[in-house]
Symmetry: C2
Subunit: 381 residues, 2 copies
């Protein structure tokens, strides 16, 4: 018997009820029943993004909406500032490059967060910067960036928008788009939204929509204005990923029922339990501060290959987590506590890590990590 466990930062586990909804006979996207589903989805997405604006839906990976955020707001030759502290920061820079946007990279050491003051400084030095691109959580390092503080700075610049890749963040931790004055928030289906990959989302502030009006970069499939026009009629510009949208309606209902504040508190508690467990095992966190609610990156102990931890967990314990990417490859392993995950998932994941580390020759007092996790999980608040 092989019972599979998934604690990777995307795809994340999907509630069986949502899977079964997507297994229902497909409906036609021009039928009234689909339009009704879309009405609920539009409301649910506004609740999740904490915005009064419409949230655009694309049949694509999150990267598609990231590309759209660039091509719909900027012109060739425009300047942008890109926060680059991991694999996904690099993606913003690569998209800018592909479209002739001059991206000034603000480098952040992997595993570290950024000082918002330096963003203020950069915008002061070059007020012609049209957009600041960043992640909310850098999935490759498990670092949470100070988006509220960055937004407070960028929102004072009328000629600059803040574009936030919240793909692995949205639904795991606070990110009230309207209240914090974020200009574009991008998300994906396969993280806290508890769906398979295949849907991308983007919401825009009034300020961002003004940029859209002036943008001259070419776009077609990811044309935000065309998509908005169709969305307000509960449709999409091109054939939507109907089954994923059916699942989305179900997932959003679950989030609305649990309520966002409880969803965030759950993620925060699971993240803390994971961190405390790793520390109790004598391990170090890759992000020593600015912890993410979505994923915890753990430094593999001396003499232990992080990739081997991932491999043994997968091959021997049927438990999937993620390794490090690029410069962090082999150095870390990443445990996600994202989406459809509860306290027992964390307990079993910690137990599996303990057993694996022991097998790899790292001295573990069996159960020490699990105990630390349980102590956090039973805290009153």
């Amino acid at each position: 018997m092989k019972k599979q466990y998934l604690l990777a930062p995307g795809p994340t586990p999907i509630p069986p009820e949502v899977l079964l909804t997507m297994a229902e006979p497909i409906v036609h996207h021009r039928a009234p029943v689909y339009e009704k589903i879309m009405q609920g989805v539009r409301e649910g997405l506004k609740y999740l993004f904490q915005t009064k604006k419409e949230v655009l839906i694309f049949a694509s990976s999150g990267t598609g909406a990231m590309e759209g955020a660039v091509t719909n707001t900027l012109c060739a030759g425009d300047k942008a500032l890109v926060v680059e502290g991991g694999k996904f920061g690099e993606r913003w820079a690569n998209i800018c490059k592909a479209y002739g946007v001059k991206a000034r990279v603000y480098p952040v050491e992997w595993g570290r967060s950024i000082d918002p003051v330096s963003i203020a400084q950069a915008l002061k030095e070059d007020p012609s910067i049209k957009a600041v691109f960043t992640q909310a959580t850098e999935t490759s390092t498990g670092v949470l960036y100070p988006i509220k503080e960055i937004a407070a700075i960028v929102s004072r610049h009328p000629g600059t928008i803040l574009v936030v890749d919240a793909i692995s963040h949205l639904g795991a931790a606070e990110l009230p788009m309207d209240e914090w004055k974020l200009d574009i928030v991008v998300a994906g289906s396969q993280k806290a939204i508890m769906l398979p990959p295949g849907l991308a989302f983007a919401a825009l502030s009034d300020k961002a929509w003004e940029f859209v009006g002036k943008s001259t970069l070419p776009k077609f499939y990811f044309d935000f204005r065309k998509e908005l026009k169709n969305l307000t009629q509960n449709q999409s510009a091109y054939t939507p990923a109907v089954s994923l949208v059916m699942g989305l309606a179900e997932s959003l209902k679950r989030i609305q029922e649990e309520r966002l504040e409880n969803v965030f508190a759950r993620h925060a508690k699971l993240a803390k339990a994971t961190r405390e467990a790793m520390l109790a095992l004598g391990l170090k966190l890759y992000a020593p501060q600015a912890y993410s609610n979505a994923v915890t990156a753990v430094v593999a102990p001396p003499g232990v290959d992080g990739q081997k931890v991932v491999k043994i967990l997968r091959d021997k314990h049927n438990l999937t987590i993620a390794g490090g990417q690029d410069q962090a490859k082999g150095k870390i392993f990443r445990i996600a506590h994202l989406g459809y995950v509860d306290q027992f998932d964390i307990i079993l994941a910690v137990a599996a890590v303990e057993m694996t580390l022991k097998e790899l020759g790292y001295a573990v007092e069996m159960g020490q990590g699990v105990r630390a996790a349980m102590e956090v999980l039973t805290e009153a608040k």
Copy 2:
């Protein structure tokens, strides 16, 4: 009790077994099990496209791969010839326009096919045309284009590629990519492939890949070279639509088991049965020749609104077909016989059309269409 029937040209019905495969727990796209799925998928797609080349897979609607076919092969200012005989021909022209490609439109009257000689003439007049864009089947009119003949012409021009939107054609009728020397074939998941919408496909000839090497139009998400590089490692450039790919493996297996020649023969017979039934009811076909195996467009009889036919079928008989689009709106209705459809689906669809036309005041001798369909369906070959 409302039992739903779907005979629209996409989304098409999905076999319950495929739906249940997609409802299985999601797997991680970096896991060996996923790579194994991808190996099978790559082979299955090559069989379906009748090509030795790799078939690229994108998480998007078919339109995404259409956009990629333009942006990966051409440069701004390049000339193209677009066969425009319906809604989807217009899409090629719109994509070209969005990216600064000078599209010369070759207009085809809606419901009519094209004379390949005129393509030869156009290429002779202007040998600087870099690409000819066409549909294989124009879904909005139900017309089949003479792709084999067009390809024979274009393949004689070393500086011109033929790009075929086969979204509603592939898997419904013959389209051997390598044998006919097609340069790019684009397809989507929600037609004959019997999946939900959300996957797009593109296969390229060596000649097309040479164009890719010279193309300077900007692209990122739909970057064909990057995707090919990842595909050969059973991966994708960005997070793949895992559940749809799991379903794809299952659907392709079914097509391989039925075998392409039988799949085509089934579609041809169902299409003929539908046509003969409509003619037996005294109705006219919108495409009086060059019939598509995928969808039959029927002219609404005098005094009957085609949209009303669609509405009554849906609201009263729980059967979804498609109406006309744009200039054909109200004038036609379209019955698809595409994908997971068998003889009894056609019989019930014809019966439903008869009942609906009678209700709308059109003189029908009940069962006359059904009888004509049954006669075709029981023909030896």
